[in-house]
């Protein structure tokens, strides 16, 4: 099986693109060598051979490996390859049509000089399936979706269409299975951590804030007590102004209407003036 240097690019299941480097095979009968280069190997086959022989060169086979079926494309081809008119044994339209079809086909039969080897950005490639859905026996048609394919080159004698030389099989290439877009699960993936942090912290803050606001309003409206003015009996009646040079007693006018000093029998009646305004009537405490 060819292993080294295979590069496979999958773009579209309809068009499988493969770069194959078949290993060098020398055919003793016809003295032809396939070089170890890419798919366009057939273009670089020795020119001497080309002049001597005009062989048809068939390109890739598609052989489908279906593990569930007993006969696969590879085994079918290997069984058929010694027969004549190999190119008609399994034409493309019937190659994959039913469970009993041979599951291989030959494509791009032609002379080496007519072989297409486009060079794209420095890479030579052969694009399998580029003919799309076609119906001629050896067209380069699309492969079944999701299948696994292998391919190889063969050299065919144009007279009786027998296989004279062939490259090794490539590796398995599995095509993409198609998915229905409706089956994509676009559902909710769960709450992220940031969302949980933000929501929980902010909700608790808001709840606390409202609670404290409520408590504040209740406290202010109902539960607040009147503040007492501090009164020290006697100390405001007459006190020193603490002037060191000229200490003089200061008589508090608030107590002017009480001429006598307080005694035990006539204690001081403390009064409260609203807004410290001596002109307004005082209330006795």
């Amino acid at each position: 099986m060819a292993r080294n240097g295979h590069r496979y690019r999958y773009w579209n299941p309809m068009h499988l693109i493969g770069h194959i480097k078949p290993n060098g095979i020398h055919s003793s009968v016809f003295d032809v060598t396939f070089w170890c280069t890419k798919v366009d190997t057939v273009c670089s086959t020795s020119h001497t051979e080309q002049r001597k022989r005009k062989h048809s060169i068939a390109f890739l086979f598609f052989l489908i490996l279906q593990p569930c079926y007993i006969s696969t494309g590879v085994s079918n081809f290997d069984a058929d390859k010694n027969k004549t008119y190999i190119d008609t044994l399994s034409p493309y339209p019937t190659a994959f049509s039913s469970n009993t079809s041979k599951k291989y086909f030959l494509t791009k039969l032609g002379l080496q000089k007519d072989y297409p080897c486009p060079v794209v950005a420095g890479t030579d490639y052969f694009r399998v399936g580029s003919d799309g859905s076609c119906s001629t026996p050896n067209c380069n048609g699309i492969l079944p979706v999701g299948s696994t394919a292998r391919f190889r080159y063969v050299l065919i004698n144009p007279a009786n269409k027998t296989v004279v030389a062939e490259s090794l099989w490539s590796n398995n290439i599995t095509l993409y299975p198609l998915k229905d877009p409706e089956s994509i699960d676009n559902g909710f993936a769960g709450r992220s951590a940031s969302m949980i942090v933000i929501t929980s912290i902010l909700c608790s803050f808001l709840a606390l804030l409202l609670l404290l606001l409520l408590i504040m309003l209740i406290y202010v409206l109902c539960c607040r007590e009147e503040k007492q003015e501090i009164q020290v009996p006697g100390s405001v009646r007459m006190y020193d102004t603490h002037n060191l040079k000229d200490p003089s007693p200061y008589v508090n006018r608030a107590y002017e209407d009480e001429p006598q000093r307080p005694t035990a029998t006539s204690p001081i009646r403390l009064k409260s003036y609203t807004d410290y305004d001596l002109k307004k009537p005082a209330t006795e405490l």
Binding site: H15, A121, A189, S194
Partner: protein
């Protein structure tokens, strides 16, 4: 009339005034972030609208107005604390509580609705609606027409400008029963495709194989939710301080 303020009270008031200044600065600085989000420079609104979960824009609108109100109210608050009259301070506290509640709503809305945006949501939407045939132009189908046109134009713009292809890569189109997209191919300065064959077989510079970057609005929506969260944490303590100050006032 009022007794002289002692030092502690004066310090506390100064602290509250400074805190309100911080809220004012934060409010006016974060309001443009909401404006930027709402203005939707990347023109991604139609993608979100098509999912039916465009509440993130509502969160941003709320955030816009609450942050501006925070700015105005905190300036008023600086005056209210300096004057320290009962009614004015009470008005300030109630106003701040209302704005606080709305900002909480904005931050939570933005944070919650961002969770809906998983890549598969946009993938499915893209596969179902990109370049699909439009229905007949009736009044009842205007919304569908808007959505299909919007999604097609938005994705075309993404794929050519950001040099990407699909949500996860070119495989999106391949694996899901869809068609090859020429917008995924590299284009030259005149808008023509550089090399179509190379693009079709997937040669690297000719096919954009990058993943579409997560739409920027998901990152900007962080600003709506997380900065709102930050400003609210600060404002919470400031309001507590003002409430305490209010209870200590002499009536």
């Amino acid at each position: 009339m009022t007794p002289d303020l002692d030092t502690k009270d004066r310090c506390f008031r100064a602290l509250l005034i400074w805190s309100n200044l911080v809220i004012a600065c934060c409010g006016i600085a974060l309001m443009p972030m909401c404006i930027f989000f709402i203005s939707d420079r990347g023109r991604l609104y139609v993608l979100v609208y098509a999912t039916g979960n465009d509440s993130i824009w509502r969160g941003a609108w709320k955030g816009l107005f609450t942050r501006f109100s925070l700015f105005c109210t905190s300036i008023f608050g600086m005056h209210a604390i300096a004057v320290s009259k009962i009614n004015i301070l009470l008005a300030y506290i109630l106003l701040m509580a209302i704005i606080y509640a709305f900002e909480v709503a904005s931050a939570i809305t933005a944070a919650t609705h961002k969770d809906w945006f998983v890549p598969d949501l946009f993938l499915k939407q893209m596969l179902q609606k990109y370049n699909k045939p439009l229905p007949d132009n009736l009044p009842s189908t205007q919304d569908q027409i808007y959505v299909i046109n919007g999604i097609t134009e938005t994705w075309n713009r993404f794929m050519t400008e950001s040099k990407c292809c699909g949500v996860y890569g070119p495989e999106d189109w391949v694996k899901n029963e869809s068609h090859f997209r020429q917008q995924c191919c590299q284009q030259d300065a005149m808008g023509a495709i550089s090399h179509l064959e190379a693009c079709k077989i997937g040669v690297s510079p000719f096919l954009h194989a990058q993943v579409t970057l997560k739409a920027d609005f998901i990152r900007h929506s962080f600003g709506v939710s997380w900065f709102g969260f930050a400003i609210l944490c600060w404002t919470f303590f400031v309001i507590l301080g003002v409430i305490f100050h209010y209870t200590q006032l002499d009536f």
